[in-house]
Symmetry: C2
Subunit: 429 residues, 2 copies
């Protein structure tokens, strides 16, 4: 049998009991282990993929999107991919003088996920989920989200012209709600928590036969997120950094990144994975607690943090997230909302990088990660910044307190007086 | 004389009288023709650049930023470039079924400038201006702006650690103000129009010796913007499209794009420029009127449009803008605010692309451009989308009227009742 194959996807395997299922099985969770313990890994024909997905081939590929890694993405039909390009975001150094306690030798790199079309990393997962929904001819795609995944799936569903239904907590940031509205999705603002919105979405998918984009339940999502790892590998010249620092709520992004490195190990394209270090907000730290206490599962918390994107009471992708940090010799740390806002402001003022609070958590998490020895002072560390500050300007303003706009009439005298109050001579070159 | 040369910049030439000045001359406008008629073109050693800037060399260059075209950018010292990557934004097809009156053969491509770090095309100009300010050891960089240029220069100044002072109209969209605040610039919210903020900024630069980022006055800005043309040329496989459609306020972007194609013509890398078609809002159409009436200069208008980024009473870069459309056999058209909002909504709902009103003007402008024969139905047309919708969620919401969030309690019955009101069976697969 020969001929062009777009993807080498073969099957799914339960993360807990190892049971294999056909890739097309529905629901896409293990019938034995249930929806949380029984999330699935997507498997590929590694020998076939190894012959195609080589550094030399990649250097020749023009396509600067996630689909350059099509052999190990779970979509078989190239015609179902939405036209909006996603992925191949920049990787660049963060100046050493940035202001994190700056040890000699530490090399920090930013993986800048704010450059995706909806301005967050969720576009990677949504691109794969929407293609999959198209491939199985789903009539409606649905998602529950703290806001970013929802705005992302609404956008990609619009690009693919698939009707979309969204469930978000009613207190999601206004910019995220505006994105969802604009892309034409039916938008349910649920009077409750993210966890309640998630459960309501799952119930509605069961009741109405919709395609469920929700991560953890749906293993193709993590396959989209793993492309962060594949790109970092390629952008570093086909090698792994020492560590990656990732904001963690449900655990999907860190779980997806771990899968990316595992695929590269299976393909013989790297000889080790970076240590994966997850950062949670103190008020939403179910995974960090489970990891610290050595427990295999999370206990529910009452999540409350300014970092809405990682505000989760019961992490849905907890098995994959805990496996990600354990198998890579990484760990989980927590940061306060104050530390998050401070990191947000520092990053904007000293590096020109504007992110939402969840992303700033990754930067703030460097301090406890160094203190606990999860990061060494000679390491090369990739910080994953998952969402743009424009998605939450309320928090951006809080992080900018003390630098308020100065209202003046259009007169040079008013400028002089205002500058004098700000320190005078400094402003005269 | 041999050795590595980063840039082949040589001099400046007045767009009106042709007088040449040293590249370092200050102020950077023609002493004979004054600040509006006497804007300058930046010149390069074309023979030297021709040997270096070839398609083969570009294919081998890894750097996915504007600096891949360093030979024809006006910065001589590589060490002054801010670390934040700018440019090499995606170029991708807009589906033919998008909904613009869709003539057989018309090929539409999006040049997606929303993917720049501050989410607008202004980052290209700011990157060059901030590098130049650094190169001449300016102690402060200042800018007046309707919002996007200001948030962009504040961001790049932060990345380069140069103090920054900004002047914007006090009614600029909140997201743009939040960006400027966050990046630590001194932010003057001027109680007046953009034009008044512009004049105040110029007066302050004169009074305090600051480096002035204001376009038109400063020719290095257009050199940044021309990289849009250079990238389109490279992304199309080193050739020109038939036409480019560009939102126009001050005229800097269209003037810069024209300069890019002129440089490629001078280098022998293309044999023609695309027709450049500028789109203005009806309420801010000084350039379109001058072009229609065949006048060499604009008359002041009382600008009022929802598209804040192109709301300009007296276009500062009018000489270059009018030259751009005349020398490329292009033109200028106008669109109403209603057409802008309609295009914004269509683009978001049918293509998954969320832009601010100024960018939507480019899409709306396709209709009059086709009607007037500026675009032919068999053309390949690049639409330049200059800024992300997240920069102006008030306008995004207006364009989404009729698709309001549906507040519900977390109960499946509430979902069913709401969907029934929306058309019932459609939502049951």
């Amino acid at each position: 049998v020969s001929g062009f194959r777009f993807s080498f996807v073969t099957a799914m395997r339960c993360v807990t009991c190892g049971r294999e299922e056909a890739f097309d099985a529905l629901p896409p969770t293990c019938p034995t282990c249930g929806p949380i313990a029984g999330t699935m890994d997507v498997l590929y024909d590694v020998d076939a993929a190894r012959a195609e997905l080589t550094p030399d081939r990649l250097r020749e590929r023009g396509d600067p999107t996630i689909w350059r890694y099509r052999e190990i993405l779970p979509i078989r039909n190239p015609w179902v991919i939405a036209p909006l390009p996603v992925g191949m975001t920049p990787l660049y150094p963060l100046d050493k003088s940035f202001g994190i306690r700056s040890p000699f030798g530490l090399r920090l790199l930013i993986k800048d996920e704010t450059r995706n079309p909806s301005a967050s990393a969720k576009d990677r997962a949504s691109a794969v989920a929407v293609a999959r929904a198209h491939e199985i001819e789903a009539e409606v795609i649905a998602a529950a989200s703290t806001g970013n995944a929802a705005s992302s799936v609404a956008m990609l569903a619009a690009s693919a012209r698939i009707p979309c239904v969204i469930f978000v907590p009613a207190d999601a940031p206004p910019a995220k709600l505006a994105q969802i509205q604009a892309h034409g999705a039916v938008l349910f603002a649920v009077e409750g928590t993210y966890d309640e919105a998630f459960d309501l979405c799952s119930a509605a998918c069961d009741a109405f036969g919709w395609y469920n984009r929700n991560t953890a339940v749906n293993p193709v999502l993590g396959e989209g997120k793993k492309t962060i790892a594949l790109e970092v590998w390629e952008q570093l010249g086909f090698r792994a950094p020492d560590a990656m620092v990732v904001p963690v709520g449900d655990g999907c992004v860190i779980g997806g990144i771990a899968k990316g490195w595992r695929d590269l190990l299976d393909l013989g394209l790297v000889d080790r994975s970076p240590r994966l270090i997850g950062v949670q907000a103190e008020g939403s730290a179910a995974l960090a607690r489970a990891w610290e206490e050595g427990r295999p599962r999370c206990e529910r918390v009452a999540a409350y943090t300014i970092a809405d994107s990682i505000s989760v009471s019961m992490p849905r992708d907890q098995v994959k997230a805990l496996r990600a940090v354990r198998e890579t010799n990484g760990g989980l740390v927590t940061v306060s909302d104050e530390a998050i806002l401070e990191a947000l402001g520092l990053l904007a003022r000293r590096a020109g990088i504007l992110v939402e609070p969840a992303s700033a958590a990754a930067v703030a998490g460097m301090i406890p990660a160094l203190e606990r020895g999860l990061i060494d002072e000679r390491d090369e560390v990739v910080l994953v910044l998952t969402g743009h500050g424009l998605k939450d300007i309320g928090s951006v303003r809080r992080a900018s307190a003390g630098n308020e706009p100065i209202r003046i009439r259009p007169e040079i005298g008013a400028v002089e007086r205002a500058l004098a109050r700000r320190g005078g001579e400094r402003w005269r070159s």
